[in-house]
Symmetry: C2
Amino acid sequence: MSDVRPHEIMVPTTAPDDARLRFIGKIHTPWSDRKDCPRQGKIDGPECRIEIFEPWVPALKGIEDYDRIEILYWLDKARRDLVVQNPGHSDSVFGTFALRSPVRPNPIGTVLAKLVSVDGATLVVRGLDCLDGTPLLDLKPDRCAFSPKASPKPAAT
Amino acid sequence: MSDVRPHEIMVPTTAPDDARLRFIGKIHTPWSDRKDCPRQGKIDGPECRIEIFEPWVPALKGIEDYDRIEILYWLDKARRDLVVQNPGHSDSVFGTFALRSPVRPNPIGTVLAKLVSVDGATLVVRGLDCLDGTPLLDLKPDRCAFSPKASPKPAAT
């Protein structure tokens, strides 16, 4: 768990239990220490492998049609009780919601990655920046490329 | 909970408990019935209000600098056990991970919204498509506009 830096503000919290997640896979990256992870993934970064657990493998059907996919993962090493953070170890502090730091009340990372290939239960992607072994929460087509498959609705308000 | 349509595939699952979430706020939209929600939010859609719960309000500090923010929310009405879905009520089925449907093993919605204003614990945004009362999980600056605040790292692999 990360330490608290000068000027950071920690809040008292109770154990979270408003909803529960299941890990649906595991992300394999070249980075096994947080200090080696890039600050932000790049589409031309190294190839990383995502392993999907059963029974979710059939849910990949059709994902190969997308060049860009959104990946959600659980930053299981991050503390969850800071509201103000000092990422630059300076006098400038930022609210947690004005940062993409892993430290947040619900440490869910999101990334838009390039889908390189799908083979059975394994995807190869570029653009990640998380630790090796990070638990996977979700995969979705990039919202820009995706068109809803249901028939259009009548004009909504 | 939504029904299962022809050709959809449901998988047996146990109660999820790999990680736990806390709801940090509530989203107010004009849509109180799922059939009225737009299929995908639009940046020129109606203004919606997000209410942040204590003790997380100070975490908003600096978010007003961003025009676009990523919003994560919990689709608490969605079933979680379908791997193949039939969104068009047709013979075409799609894997859950090839859809942006609310029905998924971890029903987390993500949207890139326009931040209109921040006033105390309340944000006004455009671009949402979720039900009124949807629980909020996270807010982050849009990854395209955000520059990490920590000092750059030495060239990474």
